[in-house]
């Protein structure tokens, strides 16, 4: 597959180079189409969101009211804070104009006149890069008033976060754009009815939006034939941990995990065995290293394997890894990032961290294993947003698949 999201073209981040390779042609094409046609094309492409939930993008767009007395908004989610995830950064750095082009097309398709790109505060350097690209796009008339003489106008504003994992959750992100604490909101109402400032809003991940010009260029039919049938398209897979060549790799969906680890990422240093793999960022269920055969990087395959594609952030752990310590570190992260609104998450994440620390110190008990599982089970499904679930899943999956790791840490 030719790279569609990160083409290896020198200086592609510059507007002139992007244009010379056909950049912004899809915006011209889109502006000549009926907006509903674009949404239908995205629907037919079977593109599913790349932010973790794999929700069909075209369907999400179709939830937006056609006519609205209130303004409508698009939020592009570049919060990218899921441990193991570092793919959107590549788009900011190497292909910002495709993100901008996709954003303006999405705005046109949904009748939106203001888009906000939310980027995590730590990415200041990349925010500056994208801002430069946005300024250039404004100058050439791809954003702003009367875009390319079409009569359609939309603004593009980058909104910088300030260090909060939870702001990657869509309703929390909207609160953060509103200048509030990043507390998730109770759903329903859903953002398409009641989002930013109570107005119809769509939130899409950066990588999702970068796929939009590709869909228009290839056509929905050809796009939907890339990769896995029920979760098609190019996908950016970030590989980290115990591999020889960590990094972001673009590939069609559906590539076997073992091929990603051994071929793309150059295998495990010292040819060590793989003990475990987190396939899609820290909140996805852990897979055993000896159960990776046949598991592929797409929503359906990973679901069948008992995990999920998440943000395609693959974390590889070799045979010498202390999994209990890894799990404790993950639990500490969720405890730190819990916003504190819901009691099960606020209290439960800290409780899990404490219990896991006992195992790290070889000081756990058999009863602690059950207690840990109970706490996780009582968080899951009992919170406003998915952070609670994200904290519970790694714990639940680890107890299920690596119980012996805990048992050997029980105090004598």
């Amino acid at each position: 597959m030719e790279p569609l999201l990160l083409p290896p073209i020198p200086e592609y981040h510059r507007i002139g180079v992007y244009e010379a390779h056909g950049g912004y042609a899809m915006l011209r094409k889109a502006l000549a189409m009926n907006p509903a046609e674009i949404t239908n094309e995205v629907k037919a492409s079977n593109l599913r969101g790349r932010g973790g939930a794999c929700f069909p993008t075209g369907l999400k767009w179709s939830f937006m009211p056609r006519e609205s007395a209130k303004p409508k908004y698009l939020c592009v989610n570049g919060d990218e804070s899921e441990p193991g995830t570092f793919k959107d950064r590549q788009i900011f750095e190497c292909n910002p104009h495709q993100l901008i082009e996709g954003t303006v097309i999405a705005c046109y398709a949904m009748g939106i006149n203001a888009a906000y790109l939310y980027v995590r505060g730590e990415y200041k350097h990349w925010i500056d890069l994208v801002q430069q690209a946005v300024n250039d796009a404004y100058e050439r008339g791809y954003i702003g008033r009367n875009i390319l003489g079409s009569g359609f106008s939309t603004e593009f504003t980058i909104h910088r976060g300030a260090g909060a994992y939870i702001c990657g959750e869509e309703s929390s992100l909207m609160n953060s754009v509103e200048g509030q604490r990043g507390y998730p909101r109770v759903k329903p109402p859903f953002p398409a009815q009641n989002g930013l400032w109570g107005c119809p809003t769509t939130i899409n991940n950066v990588e999702t939006i970068a796929n939009i010009p590709v869909i228009l260029r290839l056509g929905a039919g050809a796009y939907s034939k890339i990769g896995a049938e029920r979760h098609p398209g190019p996908i950016l897979v970030g590989v980290s941990g115990h591999v020889n060549k960590p990094g972001v790799y673009e590939m069609p969906t559906g590539v076997p995990l073992l091929e990603i680890i051994n071929t793309y990422a150059g295998g495990v240093p010292g040819n060590k065995k793989i003990k475990a793999v987190i396939p899609g960022g820290s909140s996805t269920m852990l897979l055993r290293g000896d159960a990776l055969e046949g598991v592929c990087m797409d929503a359906e395959s990973l679901k069948a394997a008992g995990s999920s594609v998440g943000t395609a952030g693959v974390i590889v752990m070799d045979e010498d890894t202390d999994l209990v310590k890894v799990l404790w570190r993950i639990a500490r992260f969720y405890h730190h990032e819990s916003c504190g609104q819901c009691t099960p998450c606020r209290e439960g994440t800290g409780w899990m961290e404490k219990i896991l620390k006992r195992f790290v110190d070889n000081n756990g008990t058999y009863a602690d294993i059950n207690l840990l599982r109970d706490v996780a089970n009582n968080i899951e499904g009992n919170t406003i947003c998915a952070l609670g679930d994200a904290a519970a899943w790694p714990v639940q999956s680890m107890i299920r698949t690596f119980r012996a790791e805990f048992e050997c840490r029980v105090r004598e």
């Binding site: 990218e80 910088r160 754009v177 980290s240 820290s282 974390i315 890894v326 570190r329």
Partner: protein, 162 residues
């Protein structure tokens, strides 16, 4: 920059920028985070005075600003050294020995994580995932990322950060 004089307001440039940004949002309260970033950029950290100033500037109650400042971890609520070293110790960095970096820094700077050197040159903190897992272990200093670190490169970086 980083004068730590918390009585001075924001620069003309920042004030102008804030007014421009307000027009970008349905409710001007949205510029709060950006205004706090500007305050921190010009003063190094966000004091009580800073919060009151920003509250008036943005047009929100002081307690709202306090709630926001305490929610987001990147806002410094007390003075920090000239260089704030933020070492990621989350999973991908941990698997590539970030703990050793932190130990090395504590030993070299003679401070504990969370502390500031007596000469006010460095503050050392542990960071959550910085989104740079492919080049782990990683440290952020100001706006800059230092990637694929080992203790030798770390020493060189520290020497350069005056």
């Amino acid at each position: 920059m980083n004068t730590n004089d918390q009585t001075k307001g924001l620069s003309e440039h920042s004030l102008l920028r804030i007014e421009q940004l307000k027009a970008r949002y349905q409710n001007p309260q949205s510029v709060l985070l950006e205004a706090l970033w500007m305050w921190q950029g010009e003063h190094g950290w966000i004091s009580e005075e800073g919060m009151r100033y920003v509250a008036d500037l943005v047009g929100v109650p002081h307690h709202h600003v306090l709630g926001v400042v305490t929610f987001y971890t990147m806002f410094n609520r007390k003075p920090v050294g000239r260089h704030k070293l933020e070492v990621c110790t989350n999973v991908s960095c941990m698997l590539r020995n970030s703990e050793r970096l932190l130990d090395h820094l504590e030993a070299r700077l003679q401070i504990k994580t969370g502390g500031t050197t007596p000469d006010n040159r460095f503050t050392l903190v542990e960071a959550e995932c910085l989104g740079s897992c492919g080049s782990a272990p990683v440290m952020q200093v100001g706006d800059r990322y230092y990637e694929n670190l080992d203790t030798a490169t770390l020493d060189k970086i520290l020497d350069e950060l005056k």
